[in-house]
Symmetry: C2
């Protein structure tokens, strides 16, 4: 019967029938459906998991491809751990440090960090915390052993409670937390382990000696591996982060002002180039959120020995100041960007009027920022007057912008009242403006609302230049503190843009333009 | 001789003399100076140290006084440690977990964190990491024991290297790092300890059982103490941080606009009130730098069970969105503040013109922000129309400001051309403006530069209102996601300011004012 059914359906699937009392048979369809549904479910689950695993690996691959040093770091950790495990297998060494080689392994796992500074900081913290706590605990234990067995738990317990509470409290004090947080934790850990285990183990001093020596073995191994094999220095990372962020700021500023004034839309919205541009425009956002990274990098960098071009006492704190002034600039660019994307658009013909000089301000400012980035990158002061000239150029451009604003309205009213088709003719033909103004401005209110966007952008640009001066100041302080070498060649002149002098300020010396506006 | 000298000098100081060949004696002055200098030095060092210790304790006292819960946390840590140490002293318990009670102590020290969420997260990470790594390592150990003693180090070493490297790499993947960083570290630690120690210790399963049970004892104790005794919930902290930051933003905005327009300087610069005001004005800076705290709080909060008014699956991620939109507002306020403190001041008489309406915009915006803070604080939606009305008020005020800008220039030109002594008379006497404009504006360029500051401030204020709308949207999403109860009483009306309708928009409905500007 089952055979017959198989042949009837011809699809090779098994089928169950119930013979009814009346001789007819009924196919149990749902069960077949259940099996296939189960199969579908299982397949979906497997596919889903496979997809998740695939996307996980893709993400992991991206992480590794973006920064191959991370992969190297992982291999370093694996190596250090394998090497320290060998202590266990080598009989002579094993006899030396005994079963305590556990502490060496633990030290490697816990202490090995991504940057050399972090590893050194944790290593020193661990060694100091363990030593101090160990000897203190042995002292407490000695007192306790004098007190007799009955009072021993109390004599051990009360200092444990007090010291643990006090040490935990010190972890809340910011200056201590930044530098010694790990050491304090290890202090509490060691103190409680030793003072309690002292109750059972008599050979406390021997144990302390073994533990400290294994920890020193572990930390030395970590420090050697981290400093000798493809070292990643926190200081260098901080240095690179700051210069990278400066370039991002320059690109954002340049890009968003250029986009606003050349809004002809030569690019297609979805094109790869447009996506890349969009990313570049929003680069300032990285700067806004980089405080935590900078703080920890600077904190680790101070533990690092001299490396590359950096001395032991390199003024890392100054990088934090530079970072702060960069964030201040970034928030100004954020507002500028918001202003550019706002809905109250200024008509194109008004924008044209201010376009050249605004672009000049943003370009000059970006050049100053890039020059500062180069100064930090190369650690060489640009020729004595180099940055000065660029800053003066920037201020000069800002002053031009201010001058243009001063003389703006008559032209504007003229533009507004003249039909748009005639505008180009009028641009070359400025001498008749005044006569027109006198006859038109009295009748129709001046359209300030239309130029609000452009005025705001101009005044934000001027504010951007003053904030850039803050960065210039901070970078100069860094150059003095870190004793950057001065550069005799006049390389900075290559960066200078062709100076276009607008008719409004031909009589004005740029270097004089020292007036801070808005 | 020495005695005589003492009497001569009469100051009780000892003095050394050298008898010269010619009978005269010479006082060895430098040595006396050295001693007293040493004493002075010592005293200075002691004083310096005493001062440092004093200032340290003062700082510590401040930390404790500002947040007494930190002190309670420390006592909790001390208590948990003391309790777990008792396992060592109680013989029956000691027999149960043996010498491994060390792991319980270590667990308490390492796992006990300030907030309940962090403690729970670390506890679960520790338990899972230890268990998975333990059983994996026992498997590796079994394979190694089958391979024979010669190949054992290789069979153990290769997986150790590979797993340690791979696990370290996963710590770089952001999603895993945020949640399982500690677990992965413990995984590496346990795997290496067990797979290596397996070479010596045969009773691996028993050891694993003991270690896991001691860790569970430690973590349970931590979780109980952290959740039952004055618990500090990460979620609640995040909730409070967001509302506190909102209040700060409202105060900053209110304060800096008010300070600009009422710059009569009723306060003395150095007075306590002025310092307090200054602090209040710069409150927005806390918001700019709070990203890292918010991220970690939200990350810990998701591990917390239902507590207080928060369910287990409270939408903590939404708080991060609110935080991001608040930072966007804060950077706008930062720019506004920079603009207000810039050197290109607008003359008082021009400011007066726009003062009322600007103050109205900032007050209304601050009211909206405070209303949002109240919504989050109470976790109750304000009456259906409550926030809507406030937002409409804010938009209406912004629209009024825009309208004022539209009609601004004629009055301004009038002010500029009229001698300043006559200004007050003119304010009440607006009907003669147009005739004046026609006769004056043609001769002298319109002083746009003078009003640039005020126009920028106005347009930034309008941008502030659009950014506040972003916060409003984010808070509404939170209210929907977290199912805030709606509040029938019309409490929000108490917050409404007296609505002053300026002559410019009498014919305009405020609720219609939906135009986003600048």
């Amino acid at each position: 019967m089952a055979d017959q059914d198989k042949q009837v359906h011809g699809n090779g699937a098994m089928e169950w029938r119930i013979k009814m009392a009346d001789g007819s048979s009924q196919i149990l369809v749902p069960e077949k459906g259940l099996a296939s549904r189960l199969w579908h479910c299982l397949r979906a689950v497997i596919q889903g998991m496979a997809f998740k695993v695939c996307s996980f690996f893709r993400k992991a691959w991206e992480v590794g491809a973006n920064d191959p040093r991370k992969v190297i770091h992982c291999l370093k950790v694996g190596m250090a751990l394998t090497v320290v495990s060998l202590f266990y297998y080598m009989r002579p060494l094993y006899e030396g440090v005994g079963g305590n080689s556990m502490w060496a392994i633990m030290t490697v796992v816990v202490v090995f960090e991504h940057t050399a500074g972090a590893t050194i900081s944790k290593s020193l913290n661990r060694i100091c915390g363990t030593s101090i706590a160990g000897f203190l605990a042995i002292g407490v234990h000695w007192v306790a052993s004098q007190a007799g067995q009955k009072y021993e738990p109390i004599v051990v317990g009360v200092p444990l409670f007090l010291l643990a509470s006090a040490a935990t409290f010190t972890r809340f004090i910011p200056t201590l937390k930044a530098r010694f947080d790990y050491g304090i934790m290890i202090f509490i850990l060691t103190f409680s382990l030793v003072s309690v285990s002292g109750y059972r183990v008599d050979k406390l001093l021997e144990m302390a000696h073994q533990r400290i020596s294994t920890i020193i073995i572990g930390t030395c191994l970590c420090i050697l591996v981290t400093m000798l094999i493809c070292p990643i220095w926190a200081g260098q990372e901080l240095h690179a982060l700051i210069t990278r962020n400066m370039d991002k700021l320059a690109n954002s500023l340049d890009g968003c002002v250029a986009q606003y004034f050349n809004a002809s839309g030569s690019q297609e919205a979805g094109s790869e180039e447009a996506v890349h541009d969009k990313e570049m425009l929003l680069g300032y956002r990285c700067v806004l959120s980089s405080k935590a990274t900078e703080d920890s990098m600077a904190n680790f960098a101070r533990w690092e020995p001299a490396h590359g071009r950096f001395n032991f006492r390199h003024p890392w704190k100054q990088y934090l100041k530079i970072g702060a002034s960069m964030r201040s600039l970034a928030s100004c660019i954020d507002t500028l960007n918001g202003c550019i994307n706002s809905e109250n658009k200024t008509p194109e013909y008004i924008k044209k009027n201010i376009s050249n000089i605004s672009l000049k301000v943003s370009t000059n400012t970006a050049i100053v920022i890039r020059e500062l980035a180069t100064t930090i990158k190369t650690m060489k002061k640009s020729s004595t007057t180099g940055t000065d000239i660029l800053v003066a150029e920037m201020k000069g451009a800002a002053q031009e912008l201010a001058n243009l604003l001063k003389s703006y309205p008559p032209a504007l009213i003229n533009y507004h009242e003249t039909p748009s088709t005639d505008r180009k003719a009028d641009e070359t033909n400025d001498h008749n403006i005044e006569t027109q103004v006198s006859s038109t401005s009295s009748a129709v209110p001046f359209p300030l609302m239309e130029i609000v966007q452009v005025v705001t952008i101009a005044s934000l640009l001027i504010q951007v230049t003053t904030r850039v001066e803050g960065i210039v100041k901070a970078v100069r302080e860094l150059a003095d503190l870190a004793e950057f070498k001065s550069q005799p060649s006049d390389r900075s002149k290559q960066n200078l843009p062709n100076k276009k002098v607008s008719p409004h300020d031909q009589d004005q010396q740029i270097v004089e333009a020292n007036i801070q506006m808005v």
